[in-house]
Structures are given as structure tokens and as C-alpha cells.
Symmetry: C2
Subunit: 266 residues, 2 copies
Amino acid sequence: MSLDSSSESFVFQKIGEVHSPFPSKFGVPRQPNLTPSIVTKIKFKDDFRIQTALKGMEAFSHIWVIFVFHKHGAKDWKATVRPPRLGGSQKMGSLASRSPHRPNPIGMSVFPVLAWNFEAKGGVEVSLEGGDLVNGTPVLDVKPYISYTDSVEEASLGWAQKPIEKFEVRFADGVGENFKSLLSSLPQYGVESFDSLREQISEVLSLDPRPAFQKTKNALSESSNEGRVYGFDLGAFDVHYRLSQGAFEVFEIVLKDESFGPVKSK
Amino acid sequence: MSLDSSSESFVFQKIGEVHSPFPSKFGVPRQPNLTPSIVTKIKFKDDFRIQTALKGMEAFSHIWVIFVFHKHGAKDWKATVRPPRLGGSQKMGSLASRSPHRPNPIGMSVFPVLAWNFEAKGGVEVSLEGGDLVNGTPVLDVKPYISYTDSVEEASLGWAQKPIEKFEVRFADGVGENFKSLLSSLPQYGVESFDSLREQISEVLSLDPRPAFQKTKNALSESSNEGRVYGFDLGAFDVHYRLSQGAFEVFEIVLKDESFGPVKSK
């Protein structure tokens, strides 16, 4: 392909798809490295040339994933956004943020690689540590992370300097009891053990996955919001929690989507 | 836009265009940070919404540029490439490299920002330090560089560990004399001074901009190649050099393309 530089638009093909425990954009962490116990998988197209093009990737510890924000929920792009990090009160240019609401909804995230499976049925699979991607996210490109070109530790951070706030997460007595009969079948939903599920829930919940307007309107610190109930989806499960003495308290975990499991071969 | 996750292809619009001193892919450095005296400019579309979307970017020291490899010179993508860093002799999967020859020709580079000009006629302009982009490269996205998500200093580098070799560059006596009459008009071709041009030439030439087959066939270290002559384009100029005692010696600089100058407003 030798494109005319006067071309105004460009067409790209999906080379793979994300399998993650986030069925929708709600609750998805803003960065992959905030939830290290989450596993993100990419299932590449069942295409011999793609398989060949990936050879050599297994030697790199970290990779870039270039993807499409396919479920950002807006019809048009936005010129300004209200970054959650600024409390949702200040406007910022969308290109001056990492928001999905940008002229071209292209995203990029760096992930530590857990394992490559070149022999997987139905196409090469890679497991990545952490996750900020919605299940089904189309992948356009992967690139090796090369620290001498990609790493700028001293970069100054503009408005993004404010540290991320983490909230306390507790589990009410007896959580787990409520789905006792399921505990032994957790692996079929892509979860190793109840401890692993607890860890994943804690990581996601500590970041306050509530929509921005809820965070503002129903601040965790306000005692008048005590006991308010919310839920979020994580893989096959619906996690119910309440605001409790300045922390999030999980009181119930319900199996919601039995079709949601580990990446399956075709 | 809420795309069906079953979509196989995605269309993106150009939001701006690169202005750089590299008229073609020949001689373009493999990383932006190897040629810090080169200035890369992006001229954004003359569109009020794009201008608004960029507000806030001026607070970040570094930005990502997501672009299209529009002149990689191949009709189809390649499953394997021969990375120059491996001497052009070993094959590697194209996705396991940063080569332009990949399923979707999307590139990304991080640049230190020199200056934003929001008042520029014909659209916002940004000047960036360094350059690995061909003039006319279509830009799809820019993002703030955020070190706590993007910087992984300790990433292990697979096959890309080999350090980049830099070669000695000399200037023959009287270089500059040959275009004496032009020296005073250098700024109109986007170059501050002759010293600045020398520095740019040195940086590009020290990386050996010759095509891979020339590097292998006519190694700089071979005395039988003494005196062999080459040229490369840098902005408005054609730089002529020869192999000389294990170094590159520039012996002539010719004005080639008078239309090549600093970014002009429409």
C-alpha cells in the first residue's frame, strides 16, 4: 500500500479481539496496571500470516496493544471531556486526555505479557497482566515495548499529576456463602479460586467504578449516603456492594452470565 | 459511534499532517530521539473542534503521535521483516517489530514538545524535538505521554537489545562554500544556520541512512569501498557524502527543492 498523502481517511482491519472480564465500559479501570490480578486475553485471527507476523513477540516482556474504543457510547466524538481525575468538574480537550471520546477512537495500552500460546486452536492467544479493555474490543495492532524509545520516566504530566485515589474495600461476612454451590465451578468462568475473585473485585472496586455523576452526587465520605447500594459486572458475575463507613462493602456475588468464561477455541 | 464488535474494519480520518525534513522514507531515522536537532512539525486541520480538543496539551512535556506509514513502499503487508538492527540477515515477525510493514500500517512515536502555536494561521501547529517521520505523514491521533501508564523502563527487549551503532561523520574542507550564496537564505528553507544544518546532517548520517542492502554489500569498514559516493535528501537539500577511512565524509550540499521550507500557513 502506497497511500496518497492527500488521503483523508484510512481503513484498518481487525487482527484480533480482546477477551476480558469487563462486559461493558462500566467499571473498566482507566489504566491496565491498576488491576494486576485481572487477566486480559487477545485472541488473534485464525490466519497463518498473522501467526507468522507474531513470531518473535514471545521474547519481549511487555507489549503495546493498539485497539478501537468500540463501546464508548457516544455517537460523535467530543472536543472536550471531563477527566475523572479532575473530579469530573473541569473540562479538558479530548486530545489532551486519554479519553475514548476523541476524533479517532484509537486507544493504546502497555501490558506485561504472562504467556503466548501459538498452538491455540482458532488462532494465537496471548495472556496479559492487568486490564482496562472491554470484552470484545477490536485489536488493530500489537507492538513490542522498546524502553529506549517508549520510556520517558521524567515526562511532566500536565493536569494528570494528581495521584489516583484508592478506596478501602471490605467483604461482608458470608459473602461467598451466597453462591457456595458455584465455588467449585469457578474455573469454568475464567476464575481460579474465590481468593482470586476477591482480589479482582478489590482491585476494581478500590478505584470506585461508579459513573462520574454518582461519585460527585453520592460521595463515599458523606455519611448521608451510608448503605447506598450499587453493582458492577465482572466476568460472569454481578457484584453487589454498598457504601459503608467510608469504604465499599461487598455483600453479595451473583452468577449473571453463564456464557462468560475463559477464551474458548472455535 | 457505537460499533458492533463484529465489525472487521474501521475507518479513521486524518486530523493533521507531518512537516519534516525527510521527503522520502530513505534516510529516515528509526527512532525520533536519535536526531534531537531535527524539528518535526504537525499542522492540524483548520477545524475549530480539533483546536478545542487540543486545549490542555501544552501542559505536557511529551506527546504520542499516532500516524499512518503512508509511504512504506509495499503493496501488501509483510508477515516477516529483516530488522536493520539484526543486520538485515535475520527474519522476524512484522508484528514483533516496529517495522512499517505490518497488517495495519499504524505507527506511534513519543516526542518532547518544543512549542504549541494555537494561533497559527491555517490550523494549530506543534513543534517536536527529533524526527522519524516522512514529510506528509498523516496523523490520526495525539495523546499526552503519561509516565505512570506508558513508561516501563525495565522492560526486557527481546531481539532489540543490540545497541544502535553510530558512525563518525566529517565535513570536507570548503563544504558550505559550495552554496555560499544560499547561506544567508537558509531560514527560508526551515534551517536556522549552517551550524544547525551541519548538526542535523551529522545526526542523520551517523546512523547510516543507506538502504540495508548497501550497508551489507558496501560496509563502511571495508577499505575496498573507500571513496564510494552516496546522497540523501534533508529538507530542501541534497547531501553528498563518501566513505572515507571508516567514516562518512560530506563533500557537497546542494539546494534541491526550493519549495521545501518551514510549515506555511494556507
